[in-house]
């Protein structure tokens, strides 16, 4: 076997662990498939229609065929892991470290407190003129998690494809065991500096300090400094990476990532020290930790033939029937026997001995057998009250609502979709008042209001997705939802308009990303459907609110209009008729008629009593009362208030 092929196989087996979650689609994910493809392109396979002189070409090519080091691969495929531009690299590094910190804390059932610090570092003699011009940064992320035992530190931070989450089917932020070591390697490749780690696993143990580089040829850690140290935290981990980067604010910035993280994880306390030296804290809004998700076995409907073959090889079970019932979820011994019978396989056959044809028959029978949906206790959705708390904490709006759908399944993978909406600019009542006090406007001045687009926040297993929005199933579902029927403007094929934040979260044991950089969710029909259903429910509630608000506004306006025009009409009447007209008496009379004609206090009472917004589930409305308080001539309402 040529060395290249061996390397390929090694990588593949590293990636395809027996309990490897079923791959959602052949082309969508596999890191190893991409390695393989990379190999193929390096080998320059002749196109199939070119047939001449194959042996000579093969000879020539053989001279060029050699192993590709992981660093070479990484440099060429930076974009796959989110390191394609200096700006994005900085964000990706923060993201990988923070995701890990949160995963670790939650697994240890510790309330996460994570501190992020970015410092501009002088590259050479001269310090950069401003943080926006700086090209080198130090990213430090510190958590109060369980810490890492010192024997593991080097491998975790300096060996690609090494981790604890890949080999099990459980909902977590990280999946692949690449994240943090890729960030470390990027730092090493761009600055030559090692990753620095401090970790402490308990107050009785000393903290450990380590500087680790990655041997990019062998994918093995090289440990530099390695000693105990003093650290004020009783337990936790601190990772520090120096790297090339670009600091930016606004969209797709570190701040946006942290803000969104804090919305989807309202149990977390985040602190951020920006390169400018400013400290920002994102406090927690809920006291309880999300319930710990359970680990599950793969569902038979979620696997592909290749994975079945691999699982047959790796199973500790001695019988095929035993393999079926113990390595998969929802397969009882009886069902296992039935499947074997229908596939024409002896239930007591040795799994490792099964031939290709038999395995294929087994696979086909599995696919067409009715099997109970996978268990869903492996999922830990954020929850409606938590989403509301997160949104209300970070987004100023007039109306908030949240929907958590019941679990659904795509390709044997259970998942839950959650949606939230924050609508309005949070100063509806204030704005109305301001509009009334704005003063004279010149001709044509009123019409230059801009159309604002809704802001979409996408999350997968509580991690914000900031890139590749238009490639994502969530975006697709949002634009395919008919927002107009909920009283919100929308042009074809676009996000809805207006001051609105749309929050969508997918929780799953396996999120089908379109690439390794984990930024866009693949468009499975089941996922699209669930997202739409969640948005429709949230949208319906929004519609109730918007309609009621319009009603209140119209009523306010109606009375207001008459109140505005009455002095004008009275003054004109007097001008026309002369001094004989008692202008005050006329105004009072017209005013009385106006109140009577707009339904008087009856309308107010009606609006209050049948307030449909108050009856909506998982919904907060801010400043509702203020709208009514402002209606002028609303003496009845005022009196009632005083009496209370």
């Amino acid at each position: 076997m040529p060395r290249g092929a061996r390397e390929r196989n090694r990588l593949r087996s590293a990636a395809q662990f027996p309990l490897r979650p079923p791959r959602p689609s052949v082309k969508s994910l596999g890191f190893e498939t991409r390695v393989a493809r990379e190999k193929r392109t390096t080998q320059k396979d002749p196109p199939p229609n070119e047939t001449k002189a194959a042996p000579e070409i093969a000879q020539k090519l053989a001279a060029k065929q050699r192993e590709i080091s992981i660093s070479e691969f990484f440099t060429k495929n930076r974009h796959l892991l989110g390191f394609d531009s200096p700006r994005r690299a900085l964000l990706t590094a923060v993201k990988e470290a923070v995701d890990n910190a949160l995963d670790a804390c939650e697994e240890a059932e510790i309330k996460p407190e994570v501190a992020v610090k970015i410092e501009a570092v002088a590259n050479g003699a001269e310090p950069p003129a401003s943080v926006f011009q700086a090209e080198r940064f130090r990213v430090t992320v510190e958590d109060n998690g369980p810490g890492i035992v010192k024997e593991q530190i080097s491998k975790i931070f300096a060996k690609l494809l090494y981790g604890s989450k890949f080999h099990r089917l459980r909902m977590s932020r990280g999946q692949q065991g690449i994240g943090i070591s890729a960030a470390g390697m990027y730092g090493q490749l761009t600055t030559g500096k090692p990753t620095r780690v401090i970790s402490r696993i308990g107050s009785k143990k000393q903290a450990h300090y380590m500087e680790i580089a990655l041997d990019t040829k062998k994918n093995e850690p090289i440990v530099g400094v390695n000693r105990t140290t003093d650290w004020d935290r009783p337990h936790g981990t601190s990772v520090s990476i120096e790297m090339e980067g670009r600091y930016a604010e606004g969209r797709q910035s570190i701040e946006e990532y942290l803000e969104q993280t804090s919305i989807a994880n309202p149990h977390v306390v985040l602190t951020y020290v920006s390169p400018k030296g400013e400290t920002k804290t994102y406090p927690a809004a809920v006291a309880v930790l999300p319930h710990a998700p359970k680990e599950i076995k793969p569902h038979p409907h979620g696997i592909e033939l290749g994975i079945l073959l691999k699982m047959l090889q790796d199973t500790p079970s001695r019988w095929v029937s035993g393999f079926l019932s113990s390595d998969f979820s929802r397969v009882s011994p009886r069902l296992a026997a039935q499947i074997c019978r229908e596939a024409g396989i002896d239930p007591k056959a040795k799994p490792r001995r099964l031939g290709g044809a038999e395995a294929e028959a087994l696979y086909k029978v599995i696919q067409k057998t009715k099997i109970m949906a996978p268990p869903t206790d492996c999922l830990s959705p954020i929850g409606e009250p938590q989403i509301l708390a997160g949104l209300a904490k970070q987004i100023r709006a007039d109306f908030y609502t949240a929907v958590t759908r019941r679990p659904a399944v795509y390709r044997g993978n259970p998942f839950v979709i959650e949606a939230g909406l924050a609508f309005g600019s949070g100063n509806f009542a204030q704005k109305q008042k301001e509009a009334a006090e704005e003063g004279p406007k010149a001709e044509g001045e009123d019409n230059d209001k801009e159309v604002e687009m809704a802001r979409l926040m996408r999350f997968a297993n509580r991690v914000p997705l900031l890139y590749q929005q238009s490639a994502c199933a969530i975006h697709k579902s949002v634009i395919e939802t008919n927002w107009r029927s909920y009283g919100v403007g929308q042009s074809r094929g676009a996000l809805p308009q207006g001051p609105m934040v749309i929050f969508v979260h997918m929780a799953s044991v396996w999120v089908p990303f379109t690439s390794e950089s984990k930024e866009a969710i693949a468009s499975y029909d089941e996922i699209l459907k669930e997202v739409k259903l969640a948005l429709q429910e949230a949208g319906r509630r929004l519609g109730v609110y918007v309609r009621r608000r319009e009603l209140a506004q119209a009523e306010f306006k109606r009375r207001n209009i008459f109140a505005l025009y009455i002095p004008e009409v009275a003054a004109a009447t007097r001008k026309l008729k002369g001094k004989a007209v008692d202008i005050e008496a006329l105004k009072a009379r017209l005013q009385k008629m106006a109140v009577k004609l707009t339904g008087g206090e009856k309308t107010d009472a009606l609006l209050k009593k049948n307030n449909p917004v108050a009856q909506l589930p998982s919904t907060i409305v801010a400043g509702e009362e203020n709208i009514k308080q402002q209606a002028p001539n609303d003496k009845q309402t005022d009196k009632r208030k005083k009496r209370q």
Binding site: E438, P440, E443, L576, V581, L586, M593
Partner: protein
């Protein structure tokens, strides 16, 4: 036939009627309502005997306690009060000044009484029909954008103006030309030529066409304003002069001619004193390009808007005559429209020396 000009006292009492609407309603606790005649195609009729467009009987109530109408009601009252002020101050004003006079911000809001002049102009027209008073009677001047030259002598504010001695420029026709303001002292012309565009009027004036053919030359620079229409009508009535209208060959030209002849749809209440049912259409006719051998390349392709407008005009009752149907259909069929300016393709004086003389000689016009 023409109704006598209303006295200021009469108009004033009509204006006060607006105030009575409000006061009466307030007394009875009823929604105040002003009854306004409808100004649109649905409410005009063509009287085939008198050959003018007349306003129908339909009216619409403008009430105050109605969200859709409250603003307009308020505006109507404001304009009415401003007209009263004009009487008291003994001045006349323009539409634009009236807009500025009545524009202000409503107390306690950012809303304006009027956002632009397009909002206030129609209110004047509403008042004209409601009070059955012309805008001049309300002391509001129409825009003056017309010129006259020819053997006519006018008296304006005591000044004697001989329109034959004003050089090429002529006399600017004021917006109010009622006998109280302008007297026609003398007129020896044989006919009136009303030209759509200033360019052709200038050409004819420069060439002293009016001298050679003994006529009055008038233009209103596009759709003739009220002063021009009214002066034409007075010359027609008082000196029995035939009126010929010269316009571009396009749907708008036809419509301008019809406004001169039988009045406009929007201001149908004015037909009585403005319309000249005997006016003739001298050109450009859709037959002229052939007759006068205008090359096709000086024509302009009719666009969709032209065609739909031409079809609308075809349907007006006052264009139902056979010759007119043929005239318009011929234009649509040719697919082209022609500007008067295109005659210059022949030579600069073609209009003066060839086109008009031949038209007059051959009595080649449409009625």
């Amino acid at each position: 036939m023409v109704r006598r000009r209303l006295s200021d006292v009469a108009v004033k009492s009509r204006l006060e009627g607006l105030a009575d609407v409000v006061l009466d309603a307030a007394k009875k606790s009823k929604d105040p309502a002003i009854s306004i005649p409808v100004r649109s195609l649905s409410n005009v009729t063509f009287d085939p005997k008198r050959r003018i467009i007349e306003m129908g009987e339909n009216t619409q109530d403008r009430t105050f306690f109605n969200l859709g109408m409250a603003r307009k009601f308020m505006q109507t009252m404001l304009i009415g009060a401003a007209c009263k002020e004009l009487f008291e101050e003994k001045v006349t004003t323009s539409l634009r000044e009236l807009y500025y006079r009545t524009k202000h911000t409503l107390a306690g809001s950012s809303e304006n009484t009027f956002d632009d002049q397009a909002e206030s102009d129609p209110i004047i027209e509403d008042l004209e029909v409601t009070l059955d008073s012309l805008r001049e009677e309300l002391h509001v001047r129409a825009e003056s954008a017309g010129t006259i030259v020819g053997p006519v002598t006018l008296v304006d504010d005591g000044d004697v103006i001989d329109c034959a001695r004003l050089g090429k420029g002529g006399y600017a026709v004021p917006s109010i030309v009622e006998p109280e303001e302008i007297k026609i002292k003398k007129c020896s012309a044989k006919f009136i030529l009303l030209v759509e565009k200033g360019t052709q009027w200038n050409r004819l004036s420069e060439d002293k066409f009016w001298k050679k053919h003994n006529c009055v030359l008038l233009t209103g620079n596009g759709q003739p304003p009220r002063g021009v229409r009214r002066l034409t009508r007075r010359l027609h009535d008082e000196y029995k002069l035939p009126v010929y209208v010269l316009v571009d060959n396009d749907p708008w030209g036809y419509y301008i001619y019809s406004v001169v002849k039988q009045g406009s749809i929007n201001l149908a209440y004015e037909s009585q004193r403005m319309a000249i049912p005997d006016a003739k259409f001298i050109g450009l006719s859709s037959r002229d390009p052939e007759k006068y051998k205008l090359p096709r390349n000086v024509g302009i392709k009719l666009n969709d808007k032209d065609i739909s407008r031409a079809k609308e005009i075809l349907a007006y009752p006052w264009f139902k005559k056979k010759e007119w149907q043929e005239e318009i259909k011929h234009m649509i069929a040719s697919g082209l429209k022609y500007e008067l300016d295109a005659l210059a393709n022949k030579n600069f004086r073609y209009l003066t020396t060839d086109y008009l003389p031949r038209k007059l000689r051959e009595k080649d016009w449409l009625d």
